[in-house]
Amino acid sequence: MYIQSFHIDGFGIFADVQVDNLPPGLTVFLGENEAGKSTCLEFLRTMLVGYPNARSRDARRIPPPLRGGQPGGSLNLISEEQGEIRLTRRPGQDGGVLTLSNAGGDPLESTLLQQLLFGINRDVYRNVFGFSLNELQTFESLSGDGVRNALYGASFGAGLRSPVEALRDLDGRKDALFRASASKPRLNEELTSLEKLRGEIQAVSEESAGYDQLATTLNEKKQTLATLRERREVVDDERRRVERRLNVWQQWDEWRKCGLRLEAYPAVSAGFPEDGPARLARAQEARETCERHMAAQQEKFSRLRERREALQEDGPLLEALPRLRALAERKSGYRQAQLAQPRLRGEQERADADLARELERLGPGWDCDRIRQTDRGIFADKDLERQARELNAADSSHQAAVDTLDRLNRDVELCRRDIASATAALDLLPDPAAALGESERDRLRQTLVLLEEGRQRLPARERAVQQARHAFERAQERLKLEADDPRAALDTLLAKREEALGLAREVQASIDSAGEAARAVQQAEEQADMLRARLEQLREEQRSSNGPSREALDNRSSALRSLRALSASLETEQERLKELSDRLNAEKEPAAVKNMALLVLGGIIMLLGLAILVGHWQFGMESLAITENLHLPTTLWSGYLVLVCGAMAVGGGLPRRNGPEAKRLRQERLQLESRRETCALHVAELGDKARKLCQEAGVDSMDPETLEAVEVMLERKREQCFNQERSHKEAEELQREIGLARARIAELQSRAHEMQAAVQRIRRRWQDFMSMLRVVNVPAPESAESFFARAESARAAWDAVENAQAELEGQRADLAQYENTLRGFAPVQDCLHEPGDLPALLDAVRQVLESCREADAAREQRIKATATLQHHKDELERIQGRQAEASQALAQAQTRLEAARRDWGECLNGLGLGEDLDPETVRKALQCMDTCLALDAACQRLAAELAQNEQEMAALHQPLEQLLTALSRPLPCNEEGETDWLGALDSALEAAERAAEVDAEARRLDSLLAEQDAELRAASAALEEARHGEATLLHMAEAADADEFLRLAAVLAQSRETQRLRDSLQENLRIAAGNQPFEDFLASFEAEDHDAQESRCAALNAELRDIREQEERLSDEVGSLTARVNGLTGTDTLARLRQQEALSLESMRRLALQWSALAMARELLLRAKNTFERERQPQVIRLASTIFASITGGNWRGINASLDDTSLHILPHYGEAISPEALSRGTQEQAYLALRLAYIQNHAERATPLPVIMDDVLVNFDPQRAARAARTFVELSEGRHGRPHQLLYFTCHPHMADMLREAQPHCAVFRVENGSIARQ
């Protein structure tokens, strides 16, 4: 594919630029700096692969249309496969608005361009196919990694990341999820927590599995506990009864004694008053109190009477008290008036002086009355202000009117000068006439354009016809039909298409069926092999395992279970036996008891007997005098008797065992021995049984560890036994399945043979059918679709040839018609003079059009000048109008000013002021008048205040004088000899107040005297009543006096106390009796012995204690068992843990899927990379090496790409490879250029060659290498090593253009200059 022509509508400095006839080979664009070469490169790249995203950084590279025109442009592309394609692109989303059309202007699908680009996207094109020196040099500014990535992109595919980096990235992400021997990654963590969770589940499960046994034990314990509680209640009832009796034993005894005491007390009167002694004492005390009160009242009455008689009253002064108080209230007013009098007089004098001074300022003849007569109202004031404003406004408007008139006079002068200059300019302009009218001229221009376009398109049409023919020939050649008329043969072939395809499908179907049948046979054989292998394996397993039978294992298990149960009871029995033996051994003889008193007494008596015998034998004593009258005979017999008595006493006191206790102990010992023997017998029996069971179970000892181990071993053997049985069954099943599989294989094989035969038959039919259609090389049925597709494309190619031919003819006819039309125009004929060839005709037409355009331009200038003159005249007229208006306004302003001055004078006259006063002076005079009036008002106010003060002082002293005279009191005088009215008032008021106090005291004493008299009478009555009460009490007790009364009262109190004690005891006893009849209860005290009851109570208590201990133990056990059972039934722990396990598994599954996707991506990438390296990569690198070696003149051997570490190495002839960074800039660029050219050639092997565009990429090359690079370009453009490519080379160096021209003499050279491109 190559660019045949392009048109830039608007792009940077280019606007409406057309470039035609670009050859398919090398083209050089030469231009100076900033001539627009880079813009042109950018335009071509953008048109081919699209505009960048408006928000991307690349968008800044796209210049806006600086010289107008619609942004964008179009390319004419020529493709071998598609013919001519017109591509138009405008800025917009997704690469811009793309329009594709064919040579006839019919629209094409936009995907066609993508097909032509064949996987080359925008970035790849910019990096590899169309690049400038800048892009080549950007490698230097990139980081090392960036360089390598870009290079790697050129190796593995432009625009791709390094696969090694991608693999490393994938590994990192994988490892973050899971690593086999790590603990931190998420999956490993999850696994650890899952295992922990499963451990917990196992523990809780085991606990839950024991629920049944636990619940049974709990029920048994509950039953035992209930029985025990019943027994406890019975014992407790009896104990309470006995204890109750013992507790009230003393009370019963007291109760009995109280009865006896009551009978012994003397009789007392029944009417004896309750609480007698206290009542008597209270009566006596009341009487004495009344007597004391009586005496006190009498004394108080006499004292009051004395005080009343001592008081004296003053009547007239008392009556004058209210009036004196009223006068005292006026004292403060009198005092203020007296003080204010001098100040007021001073102020009045100052106000009078100020008024006189202000009147003087106004001038002679002015006083307050005249001022008041002057009109100083609001309306007069406003009128005065208005007159003043009017006067000022009239003055200002008069000044403005004068200024306006001056300015307009100046404008009129200027305008007249402009008119004169415009008239002179118009006279100088010519007035030419056009050769053709507007419509004629348009027709001529259109015909010319059509003719030129038609001429331009003609070669393309001819090429299109040629290409269509070639295409048809190629298509026909691939079909290899043996026919004279290819078109008819194609039609026949296509008519039979459906039939042939049906046949091909049949062939394909039969091949598929045959393939399936073969696969089925293979699968069945594989299945049979698997089954046989499994069977062999099972048989091998069976041979290797010959364990005991299931019955033997069951017997051993049963024995083991019995042994386990027996072990527990044997252990219990042995412990019991040991306990009994211990108790027997620990049993002691009853302790001996000795009597020290008897021993000592016995000893003394024996000593006495010995003394008597010694005295009798040795000293011959007959008797021993104990007292004067009592003599103890000391004979032999008495000595012996005393000695014997002493010995007996000693014998009685010697230590010895108690009889009944010893007997009980012996009995208990006998019982224990008997129980021990029974127990030993039982232990022996159990031991025998255990030995037998040990033999059955095959164990040596019966300790729990051994039993546990044997049980585990048995369980394992049972499992093995179960597996054996299962493997036997499985083997039988496998045997049967193998038989079935064999039969199935035979059946499938016969079917496969049949299918193969069918395939052969149908293939022959296909061959015959195609031969009938005159196809020389009959295609395989599998490729029938593509064969007919080729046939169809060949038929389409034939149609395309005919169409192209017809279009070419039409185009030529149109051109002839256009030429005739042009010759028909008269001015053209005039220009030609004689019938010339087509170029002369075209020149003549252009001359005519040019003369018309010039005439139009001159006429247009003349019209513009006339319009300017008219504009100036209009302006003059307008200004003159405004001048007249300004003169009129000035006259009006003058009139207004005079009227205002007249009104002002009249107004001042009306106020009595001079006419010549200005407004400011008038305002000041009015202010002065206001001040005078205010001062006058202040003088009048002060005189009124003085009069009021004098009136206030008189209101006090006149009534006071009258009152004092009436009371005959003297009038006091001060130091100046004036009467002190205030002092007189104060002394009179004080005397009146004192008289009022005396009168009030006399009234109070009178009232107290009356009250005291009443109290005296009441005290006398109370005394009488108290005396009567005392006498009544003595009478009730039938006592003569108070002493006898008290004695009788003491006897009565003792008897009542005893009775109350007895009742209380009886009540207690009744409570203690409870439900028992009270009489029986009382009788039981006398019937039973106290000590016997106590011993019975102790026995009951001991029994109760035992029961309680047992009950407590059982309750604890039941409580803990209940808690465990409830825990097992009520808890959701296991469910919760299992739900957690499910959640954890789900989390792990999700993580595992993430990991798997990464692992799979890694594996795919790795395999693809290996394949790529093996099959594709060397081709690009080899090619790049060759090109690099060629450009460098063999200085370097080539390029080597190490794909594992994503690096590029340059190979010298000798020594180790070096990295590109170590090379000079020129050599680096040569390496990169070689890599690109290799990629371009490699790409063209599989796809349409794309235009290659370069912008001065050789400037850093030395002349020799640049020349060699130029030759390489030529080779690329001529397709010496592959398919030819169009190469557009932009340069600003003429020598570079010469060098390229030298390498390719026929190359086209275009000149780029300031927004235009033209062919040299």
Binding site: P163, A1135, A1152, E1163, L1164, A1168, K1169
Partner: protein, 426 residues
Amino acid sequence: MDIVRYIHAADLHLDTPFLGLAREAAQSGHLSRIMQDATFTALERLFRFCEEKRPDFLVLAGDIYNQENYSAKAQLALRDGCRRLDALGIRVFMAHGNHDPLSSRLTAIHWPENVTVFGPDVESRLVEKDGHPLALVHGISHAGSRESRNLAQLFRRDDTRDVFQLGVLHCTVEGEAKADRYAPCSLDDLRRSRLDAWALGHIHQHRQWEEESFIAYSGNAQGLHINETGPRGCLLVTACPREGGWRCESEFLRLGPVEWQKLSLSLDAVDSLDGLEDALTRLLEEKARTLESGCEALIARVTLTGRTPLDEQLRKAEVRADLQERLLHLAANSPRIWLKDLLVETRPLLDEAEYRRREDLLGETMRLIEEMRRDPEQFAELGATALAPLFGHARMRKALAPPDPEESRRLLDEAQRLCIDMLEVR
């Protein structure tokens, strides 16, 4: 002969956890509570239905609880419910299955008089109504957790009694796809017994065959994972006498409070995440509106399909997580909706064929992936190599099962996206 009415339930799996839920979803307080009690709620509803509908008897066809869960709570809850029915005079017939074999019964629990637990051999019990024989119920329990005998062949009609005869069995009927095939039998085996009806358990999906015998699986009472979708419950069967036999009609009664749903959403017309969120919200709310009143929670898996520019974004786990988080507000509606997961099966707008045409490494990779899609054996070999470190790991193997073919297909799609992501410089 009187009409016979009975309720048939099976596979309650009391106190069994839910599977396949993300931890975040399951730890949401409300959902976690509902899930924890879901199986017990279903049981409670069953007994409430019995109290409302007053059937002649209740049949439980095995797997009422899971032996391996050691849940005494489950058996006690069952016993308490049976006591309630005992007070109403409703008999209960219980057969044990592979998950709750006879050996797993707790002897410490005493069952009320109305409960009949079938033993390891076929037993027949007569049900009476108002003193007259009403029906004869035959049944058998699994003695152990791996019953491999054909138990259906042990049933025989009792010709001496002219009443409705029902068989209760926990079994796998031939043709049912279920991994653990215990007590296998065929429909012919069942019909040969000449019983009027069969109440079966073990298959967790409601199914019934109505020919000469009425054979029915009631399905399980509560779906426990995403493959048990839709409403779950029991059957109220009414058997009416007809010429020479009985005509049975069944009514489905919903029990499970939690419902699983698989939904699909095409994104052909959706080009933004906001639009997707709206579409998802509409879909789920629409679904929630159509749910029955007994559904307390809907746990949904939504599969996104279609060709959309969002494909690349949706392939990112964080985008999906964010989307799911933003949809949490749906849980505020009633019945509450929980989005279990989002499966992305969308395709990108750009043509995969274009990628495959590329001559670079990416094109090579895409061609390799296409080849894997075409050749399952080669793909299996690649999968085995790539995934061996994880699924062959000694400890991991006990927790993780290798991906099934469907998951493998999705993994390949995901791997393709990763390859494009990793290789293309954007």
